[in-house]
Symmetry: C2
Subunit: 478 residues, 2 copies
């Protein structure tokens, strides 16, 4: 006998997460209270980042021969260099510095019910690369293996045990995801969401927020940090119940199309098998060779003792910083960071087909991807860089994004402040009536339900697209 | 408006594939006719494999320094060596030769309807490593990139165009999958099934077979080759219709439990999200370092000019062969091959939970995997090798397999004859009432429906488990 069918655990989670998307907070009741709390934390914890020459960073050494910049313990990360070859691309080969951080870190958010509604445990955290070293809302735990095996000799990481021993707990998200493939060599983090019981309390520096509150806060510039965005994006953010609930609470046509997009039963422009085949085709077709090469003498770059910059002044620099901080595991340290040039543009073009909102998705290759190609936003670039690149390298659809017909989301958000100094991108969601051939090798129209399915697995959706998926879902409650 | 729901393309494919699983063949009507056809092909095409010293292989050279064995063109594959470190394993480090074949080849099967039933276009093909160089049933196309870009200077590959330009055709399977991670360094092939119209005919050396016929032939020793098995395993092989059809045609309790196992709505021991989390945990936890190292002076191995063998006489050897053939693209060539020692055992233990058959699945690490861990059979080993390994390395459940309670499938099948000389494994499916803790780090009970879902994606299920999934599905029509 087959047991009678009942809602799957995933469907149950979708219902509870949908409830959280419509619920005010029980801990900090409204947005003003959250801002007050963040402001209070910003006054109490502090961090100062001071630029320093690369050859003056305590604990960092140049590897003989390669010139790679490493911590003397061999842990944390190193600044290395690669030669990249893509025979079919507009720029068929180049060299660049890249960060190698082979450990798989944990990005974890705890959730628990308060008054019957799921709340996420967020941390007020500063990072050296944040604008003015401000506090951002970060995951409950944000830890490299070096962190949690005590290489720092710092304090124990609060709540870490719930993620290191997840077996037997209710695990809502557990997947490895990549980070910026242009700056990181195959970096992967384990994105986790784990549910705990009501015996778990927020200690000082942490607060419980509903998905509704987090959706609202996403439109505040640079407040929700990158790690929070990637973890939240991996939560089931759709399903039939989500779609019906969103549709029933809004009269807005755009929201209605968005709701349908998150419903796996709604028609999609391409079947999921066709999307998977397109990814297989792109990963098979694209020739990408990435070889590690010496950092000294890198073509196109000025590799000096104090700083590494591109001859054109574009792209990014590798700089050093001294950091002093209160309220963290370690009080002072030095480290190299990547400092990008200019503010980037990261945009989804969206369009309705049969009343269902679809997202124009790019199959993108970056040197640091573990698997050649990931799904990326329609446009992902720093527009200034294209002044020094061949015409063919100019991103498609950039003009449609910069002269948009209808802007649905437009907020500057920052990238990971632990490795990037002042890395900021303008995140845009724009309705535009562009036409793309059904068999275009580089672009496909995907629904939110298809993103939802792909995000159960590793390395399909890149970090920028994950942020935008979260932004798009947040529009359901505007 | 959401369009009315209709069967998804995948559900439609499941119905048509189920029909093919119950249909006699229209081209070669019964098993006897297939055997006659294979026997006829074996008389007409021929191949002779003659052992040769590695240093006497035409076109193959040793790379200075490393001693890697390469083709002088730099194409095809090379025999290299790796140092493997797994700090937590019973054998924490070793060195071994390994084949590096970085090109992504195509393994493709064409399907078309004959009398309304899907038939697969199979090729009678010999490979130098086949037992007695016999003919096996191979995919329509089995081609490395070197093959199809003409490095061989051989004849054009029939039917290749349908796989190289699949866009716009009905693509039933399109995923990259790994091969033996113990012998190949990150080898991946693109597994494809493409449907064509009735204008496509079987040329000489090819025949159309239904899934029913292929299921029957799977129990014939060494007839269905490895590449056919991996491609067929990636076809949707379940779903509600499949489960109901199988259940309605059999009175057998085992078949009934098997049918339920293929139904995504039937209860499973672990949810799919739990299974994915377990894989993430294993891929995060397992420390595996694989570094390429010189082939000369490899610890534990006798690397001679003529042959490479392990000092213990176990595991495998690297040998050379001269091949002469009729009826193929190229008439004569030389190449190195891997010759394993002994016949392996590859087994699924299966057991019912709530009337649903589950398969005991191992999270296995092999040095050549692209992503550390893949799902493997309950037991996968060459039992003789364990005489020279520490007690802790002896595979769990090997005794349950070798003294089985109830054998459901037991056939010797061979591995890829293009690279392996006489590689044969005993494939077993065995019912056994073993107990495994729910949180065992290395094993989980999976349903066939869960395998079906994982096989839509790359690198979850290893090549041995893919073969066994196909064998298990074939029991539905015994």
């Amino acid at each position: 006998m087959v047991a009678p069918s009942r809602p799957s655990p995933r469907a149950e989670a979708e219902v509870r997460l949908t409830d959280s998307l419509f619920a005010p907070g029980a801990h900090l009741p409204d947005t003003a209270a959250v801002h007050d709390w963040v402001a209070g934390m910003s006054r109490r914890v502090w961090m100062r980042t001071q630029r320093a020459a690369l050859d003056e960073l305590d604990g960092w050494v140049r590897e003989p021969g390669t010139g790679f910049l490493r911590h003397h313990t061999g842990r944390f990360f190193s600044v290395e260099a690669v030669t990249v070859e893509r025979p079919d691309a507009a720029v068929p080969s180049w060299q660049q510095p890249i960060i190698n951080q082979p450990e798989i870190g944990i990005l974890g958010i705890l959730v628990r019910e308060i008054d019957g509604v799921l709340h996420c445990l967020m941390q007020a955290k500063q990072e050296p690369g944040n604008p003015d070293c401000g506090v951002q809302l970060s995951p409950t735990v944000q830890a490299t293996r070096s962190n949690y095996t005590g290489v720092h000799k710092g304090r124990a990481i609060p709540y870490l045990e719930y993620f290191r021993e997840p077996l037997g707990r209710s695990v809502l998200v557990d997947t490895r995801q990549s980070e910026q493939g242009a700056w990181f060599y195959r970096k992967r983090n384990r994105n986790m969401v784990v549910e705990v019981g009501d015996d778990v309390e927020a200690i000082d520096g942490f607060c419980w927020l509903t998905l509704r509150q987090l959706a609202d806060l996403l439109s505040v510039p640079e407040l929700i940090n990158m790690d929070t965005r990637t973890v939240l994006a991996c939560l089931p953010g759709g399903g039939a119940h989500w779609a019906a609930s969103v549709a029933s609470r809004s009269e807005d046509d755009f929201v209605a199309a968005l709701a349908r997009s998150a419903d796996p039963a709604a028609p999609s422009r391409h079947t999921t098998d066709e999307v998977l085949s397109w990814i297989t085709e792109a990963r098979t077709r694209t020739e990408l060779r990435v070889e590690r090469t010496a950092l000294r003498g890198l073509a196109g770059w000025r590799v000096a003792d104090d700083v590494i910059t591109h001859h054109s002044g574009r792209f990014f620099s590798v700089v050093g910083v001294h950091v002093r901080a209160g309220g963290r595991e370690v009080g002072a340290w030095s480290q190299p960071m990547i400092e990008p040039v200019g503010v980037g543009v990261i945009a989804f073009l969206v369009k309705e087909f049969d009343g269902v909102l679809h997202v124009l998705t790019q199959a993108r290759t970056e040197p640091g991807y573990a698997d050649v190609v990931e799904l990326a936003p329609t446009v992902q670039c720093a527009p200034d860089n294209y002044d020094v690149l061949p015409e063919g390298a100019r991103p498609r659809f950039l003009d449609a994004v910069l002269r948009p017909e209808r802007i649905r989301f437009d907020t500057v958000l920052s990238e990971e402040g632990g490795r990037f100094l002042g890395a900021r991108n303008r995140y845009l969601i724009v309705e535009a009536d562009v036409e793309v051939a059904d068999d275009d090798p580089e672009y496909r129209w995907l629904t939110l339900a298809q993103y939802d399915e792909l995000l159960r697995h590793s390395f399909y959706v890149n970090i920028q697209a994950r942020s935008l998926v979260l932004c798009l879902r947040s529009l359901a409650v505007r």
